[in-house]
């Protein structure tokens, strides 16, 4: 089970990232939970200064941009 978290204040880019990540994880056939983290303290604790960010099993994999589904598949694989 992989824990996927999207860090961000809920802006348009965060929603786009969440959708792309979900699509990529499904295409890979992963077992996963997807959670949106909007709490500022939690975002800051992860060390993210530019949202949205993708956190996989507690590790920041990506921040500040929204890659397409194909690129996300290589990041998640």
């Amino acid at each position: 089970m992989t824990t996927l978290q999207i860090l961000g204040s809920g802006c348009a880019n965060c929603v786009r990232l969440a959708n792309n990540v979900e699509a990529a994880a499904k295409e890979l056939g992963m077992e996963f939970t997807l959670e949106k983290v909007t709490d500022m303290q939690a975002i800051v604790r992860a060390g993210v200064m530019k949202t949205p960010a993708l956190v996989v099993d507690g590790k920041v994999k990506l921040y500040g941009r929204v890659p397409d589904v194909d690129e996300l598949k290589t990041i998640l694989a």
Partner: protein
């Protein structure tokens, strides 16, 4: 020790896969060809606009409709092409600047030097007002002075590539340069002033208690192919978002160009009216628009006789000071500090407006 380092270097160099060098060569050739093709098309746009207006649509450029159509047929592809080129270039430049690097450069700098650096870095560091809060916390908790942080927060939205491309494309390099120069100056001086006001106690207390994580990615070293990819991504994101504003804006500009009488704005926003600068700023502050939406309005105002300083002040107050951003910053700043931020910036913009009306 030195020997070991050298050996490691050697190993690292050997490890570099040849495929990467090949792909770099391939992308370099592609970019070279792309730039040549870009230039070949760009330099023919005026002839294309004439051809479309005169030969295809059979309109005379001296009629109102003809000059409006000619203006649009030339300006729309020109500005969009400039936008693609510059956003791509800036996307690659920005891949060298992360908020982490910028913070490391600014941490512990003396205030005056820090204000100058922060304003300059604000231009090149990728920034979006939706991440203003984590960035603010990241800066102030690692020793970047408050005033220096504000210099960054003022420069970042105010001086951006979209604004500069549009200004350059529609008004030439002088207006674009004046905008960038005065914008930087305001960011430096306003940030420095806020620093002098010693308002650290008006930052919400939880900010200083926040534990800022390290936040660096495991592999931060980007290859050239990845940087080019980031440039393309920036074009897709930014140009994809702003092109409708650009097209509508140029259409409005073209309509005004052809149909509104000269000097229509002169008595309202001309040099003669002393109250025009503060009024323009007061109208501009609560307004929120991106550069692409506001610049065609600016162009229309200028063409019809508004003074440059007044228009510049209006534009800066719309782009640089936004209502949504102050609401976002309210999470980390007490109202007194928000008021100081808005107040200092407003006064700075008004001074610049008067200065240009006086000088030019």
């Amino acid at each position: 020790m030195a020997i070991i380092k050298e050996q490691q270097c050697e190993v690292a160099r050997k490890k570099e896969p040849p495929t990467q060098r090949e792909s770099l060569l391939r992308s370099a050739i592609l970019i070279g060809l792309g730039v040549i093709a870009w230039w070949e098309i760009y330099s023919r746009l005026a002839r294309f606009a004439d051809w479309l207006t005169l030969s295809v649509l059979h309109l005379s450029p001296v009629t109102r409709l003809g000059s409006t159509v000619q203006f649009m047929a030339f300006e729309t592809p020109k500005v969009l092409m400039l936008l693609v080129l510059v956003v791509f270039g800036v996307g690659i430049v920005r891949s060298y600047f992360t908020p982490q690097h910028t913070r490391a450069i600014l941490a512990g700098k003396r205030e005056s030097v820090g204000n100058v650096l922060a304003s300059l870095l604000g231009v090149v560091t990728p920034f979006c007002s939706c991440s203003a809060v984590p960035l603010f916390i990241g800066f102030v908790t690692t020793g970047v002075p408050l005033g220096v942080t504000f210099s960054f927060l003022i420069a970042a939205p105010m001086i951006n590539e979209v604004a500069l491309v549009l200004l350059f494309g529609l008004f030439g390099w002088r207006v674009a340069g004046i905008y960038a120069g005065t914008g930087l100056l305001i960011a430096m001086i306003a940030g420095w002033t806020i620093g002098r006001m010693k308002m650290e106690r008006y930052v919400e207390p939880w900010v200083y208690e926040a534990q800022m994580g390290d936040g660096s990615l495991e592999d931060e070293k980007l290859t050239w192919a990845e940087r080019i990819h980031l440039g393309r991504e920036a074009v897709r994101d930014i140009v994809g978002k702003v092109w409708p504003y650009v097209v509508v804006g140029i259409a409005v500009g073209a309509g005004i160009h052809g149909y509104v009488p000269e000097n229509f704005m002169a008595h309202i926003m001309g040099k003669g009216a002393w109250w025009s600068v503060p009024l323009a700023v007061l109208i501009g502050v609560p307004m929120y628009s991106n550069a692409a939406g506001i610049i065609p309005i600016v162009q229309a105002l200028l063409q019809k006789g508004a003074a440059l300083g007044t228009v510049l002040a209006f534009m800066m107050s719309v782009i640089g000071l936004s209502f949504p951003e102050t609401i976002i910053l309210r999470k980390v700043l007490r109202p007194q500090l928000i008021a100081a931020f808005v107040g200092v910036l407003t006064v700075g913009i008004i001074i610049v407006g008067y200065l240009f009306n006086f000088l030019m």
